[in-house]
Symmetry: C2
Subunit: 342 residues, 2 copies
């Protein structure tokens, strides 16, 4: 009932030319064809409803024009915005983007690695839960890593300067008079994030000659559940009002959840406790009060990663590149100006 396998040969026969000529017509690699035959071949294609089998073509050319973008959570706007930027850029160059969401599961991640290894994609852009550098190099195709990965020496990476981003938030809190600043971040995935943010936290305190209270460092996963855990732990901390006046969250999901949770328990964010997020996802401007956060250049990260991969796929190799962007403070309303007398 359906199209029974019409290949290049059937087209060639109908058009009265050779398969090579048909191939020249359908593959845009500019083999010269006379206008007359071009017309004839196109008519035959139309008539037979022929469709090119790109699997077969890919077998011969070793190109699929497909790129795998593997990220932890497609439902997190931070990631989906990066993915969108990548997609925009790659499609301009004729590549199709395929999204893989690992949902932080190593098993899923392995699946996608397997998929990529099987010569299906021309390149991969990824943020790996498990930082298995060997596995990435083993893909056999160009790969660009997203995120700050100091360990990944020989791989192209594009990311934000995590420490700088954390410091921007901390400095702001300090500048408005906060002196007891808590930190909520994750141990999920690479431990480096924790240490980087934690390090920024500690260094900041040290510079200002402020005391370091280890209980003010909360380690939770960077999702809504983590946000609830955070608030629970925070509020059960002994004398928290005396101990903390500010809170820097590892991402906006955490911060937004925290804002809502705190309010449920009668703690008014931005009054009783100042909160600063990280990433600047769209929802950050929709909270009550709107969230002050540190914006990461998501669009830029995606675009640069795509450009870099594009170059690698064109065979332009060279020393691995490391792109590290700095983050920018977005002032909204979740931080109180403690210098003002109330």
């Amino acid at each position: 009932m359906k199209d029974t396998k019409i290949s290049i040969l059937e087209v060639a026969r109908l058009a009265g030319v050779s398969k090579s000529t048909v191939s020249r017509v359908i593959s845009d690699r500019g083999g010269s064809v006379s206008p007359k035959t071009l017309e004839r071949v196109n008519r035959a294609i139309e008539q037979l409803g022929y469709r090119r089998n790109s699997i077969a073509a890919g077998l011969r050319t070793r190109k699929s024009y497909m790129v795998l973008v593997m990220i932890p959570d497609v439902a997190n706007p931070f990631w989906s915005e990066i993915a969108k930027a990548i997609q925009d850029q790659l499609e301009l160059a004729g590549y199709s983007v395929v999204l893989g969401s690992t949902y932080w599961s190593e098993e899923r991640e392995s699946r996608y690695y397997e998929l990529a290894r099987m010569s299906r994609f021309d390149g991969v852009i990824l943020n790996s839960v498990t930082d298995n550098i060997e596995r990435i190099k083993n893909l056999g195709v160009p790969a660009v890593l997203i995120g700050e990965r100091t360990a990944a020496q020989n791989i192209d990476t594009v990311g934000t300067d995590t420490m700088q981003a954390a410091r921007v938030g901390l400095e702001y809190l300090y500048s408005l008079g906060h002196r007891k600043i808590a930190l909520a971040t994750s141990e999920h995935g690479s431990e480096r994030y924790l240490s980087l943010r934690a390090r920024a936290h500690r260094e900041s305190l040290h510079e200002k000659a402020l005391p370091f209270d280890p209980e003010l460092v909360f380690s939770v996963t960077l999702n809504e559940e983590g946000g609830r855990t955070l608030v629970h732990e925070f509020l059960t901390m002994h004398d928290w009002r005396g101990r903390a006046d500010g809170l820097l969250c590892g991402n906006d999901i955490l911060a937004i959840t925290a804002i809502n949770e705190f309010r449920k328990f009668g703690v008014i964010p931005g009054i009783d406790l100042s909160i600063v997020g990280m990433d600047d996802i769209p929802a950050a401007s929709q909270t009550y009060p709107p969230l002050t956060t540190v914006r990461k250049p998501k669009e830029r990260i995606g675009r640069i990663a795509a450009e870099l991969l594009l170059r690698r796929m064109q065979g332009i190799f060279g020393a691995p590149e490391k792109h590290l962007f700095s983050a920018e403070l977005i002032i909204r309303d979740s931080v109180r100006d403690k210098r003002k007398t109330t």
Copy 2:
């Protein structure tokens, strides 16, 4: 420097067997191989770092074990949850899921159609912006449509009963004493949504013998921008306080944005105006006040769609199936009980 094309033949040579035998080992289709040779072949594979070229295999078998899931917006939790359910189900059956986000762009949609047509995927699950049935049938592979599509006669569809969902929300508002209920929905994509929800709205009013005020039907896109537009239009409506006491939104993104926007303008959601959303995305429980909404069975939709596609891909054809689920009211705090005296 890298793996220079090691094929099945190199493995066969090293193991001292024929390529057929190696093929039997790597493709799990259970051709019998003696334990001894199995062992030898596996060692050779290991030793050479051989990796199966699934493009070549796919050319021969006409199977790719990849499924394309094409949805409008991967960043909307409603869609990403459905996608996740599909993924879970299909992976169980050995398929890999590839996500395509069209971001409501017809051009992107066309791209994905093209991709799917090129014999790269074994099946497609999609929610199409443009409801081009012909195009879907032309894919040449099994396809399952997500959403209520009465027009799509010959295609398998899985979705929620839009009218019933709308009615659930409306009935609830009515039962708590609301008599002037506004509706915010979209003209985006298929007009059917508008008419279905609008129809439910009108029918509901009619049943209760309530007057129909055409100005209480707002047509906006189902995203944050639409939410802001909605609130603006709503508040500039003449004598809105006298004219409306409830608002049913076409999806939660709209409702959540509206909640926040209303508050900005001093209108307290759940007190001054009751708001009901639709979908029940996670963020709905995080608003202030938490959003009363109508839950669609996202996980179920995804799972059933996947199971259906799976059956089709196994060659089990038959009459097109139409699965329509009903939605369930989730009561939170954005609707006021007007029967109580205040």
